[in-house]
Amino acid sequence: MIALLLRDLRLAIRAGGGFGLGLAFFLIVTVLVPFGVGPEGDTLARIAPGILWVGALLACLLSLDRIFALDFEDGSLDLLATAPIPLEAVVTMKAAAHWLTTGLPLVVAAPVFGVLLNLQGEGFFWLTVSLALGTPALSVIGTFGAALTVGLKRGGLLLSLLVLPLYVPTLIFGAETVRRGTEGMETGAPLMLLAGITAASVALLPFASAAAIRVNLR
């Protein structure tokens, strides 16, 4: 299992577009927003939590279709499905690799982008915490969407259509945590709910993803 994780990480680094691309996309979104809404610090500070979370979500979405597509094309997925490790473990490791290459860099870099959007005071702390707790859920849910669409020719667009509605609760609780944190309000409730979504997704969704992969390999 660890071998699979290491292989995916190595592939992501060698092929490029793993670590860098999502982050660059996040940066571009952050840069474009002030052009769209104007440079006033107050406005930016007010919308920063939401923009940063939506940006993280889109950056995550960008690399989802690569999770299984390459392995499906070159036959590795067939071989993994007949290998001695259970498919549930395979999809979990795939999600973990996706998080390490996409989610984790976002968590680390988000405070820097927060500066660009004039995020205030406590916001930096809560942004990092909420992204750290929430992005694993994004990866796991996205892996499920990728598993559903793995055999499809034009799966990319459909993948977004399937996955984005599933991201709604995570986005709401994540952005709400940052917003409340910025305004100095109690953040316990949304943060707990966010953690709950992540925990439940990580625990349960791999079974659905593995089932979808099995169906798609038939």
Binding site: R7, R10, L11, R14, D74, G75, L79, L80, T82, R218
Partner: protein
């Protein structure tokens, strides 16, 4: 019947919900090889995928020892950006088998071991794909067109690897058109097993339940 045998009884397989083969029965004992023959589209790949557990059979029984099958499809499952050693090392770790140096030697890949898989020729890739079978350490090989894009020397190398595997108590099931010159191999022509419409689950006679569809 032996516990180490792969025994297939009255198997029916389907592709996209439509039956393609039915009544397939054979036994594959350790040390034996079976070559599947038949025109394109007869269902060789479908049969192999069903036996490998990638899709459920429509009818019939498959009995074999647990975790016995190493499957090799049309594609090799190689990663272009990983070196030969890394590719093999990954599968060795997945199957929990240790060293793969003898395998590199057997498939004549030693000189290439630091090359990226993407820079190999088609035949070299195929050899690497077959090396993966050796690494898996599993007794029953299921090979779908294993000799595609191999030159004569590589085919001989491959046939040698299969023979060694058979001599070591393994078994092989192959879908291939060319004669590998393996003495132990029997041939199974799939054409007679082609599913006739309306016998499997259809026409109101077979399974009654979903008759409207079959």
């Amino acid at each position: 019947m032996n516990a180490a045998d792969l025994t297939v009884t009255d198997l029916a397989v389907s592709r996209g919900g439509i039956p393609v083969l039915e009544g397939v029965s054979f036994t594959l004992s350790p040390g034996r090889a079976l070559v599947l023959r038949g025109p394109n589209g007869v269902g060789k790949t479908t049969l192999l995928r069903t036996l490998a557990g990638l899709q459920p059979p429509m009818a019939g029984d498959i009995s074999m020892p647990a975790d016995a099958i190493a499957y090799s499809g049309h594609a090799d499952g190689l990663k272009a950006t990983l070196s030969v050693t890394e590719n093999l090392g990954f599968w060795a770790a997945i199957y929990g088998t240790g060293g793969f140096d003898p395998v590199l030697e057997a498939m004549n890949l030693e000189a290439l071991c630091d090359r990226l898989a993407g820079s190999l020729s088609a035949g070299q890739k195929r050899r690497l794909g077959l090396a993966r079978l050796l690494v898996s350490g599993r007794p029953i090989w299921m090979l779908d067109e294993p000799t595609v894009s191999l030159d004569a020397a590589s085919v001989a190398l491959f046939a040698g690897a299969v023979r060694t595997h058979l001599a070591g108590g393994g078994a092989a099931l192959m879908a291939t058109h060319i004669d590998l010159g393996i003495a132990e191999a029997e041939v199974l022509d799939l054409a007679p097993f082609k599913a006739r419409p309306s016998t499997v689950g259809g026409g109101g006679r077979g399974r009654e339940f979903d008759e409207a569809f079959a």
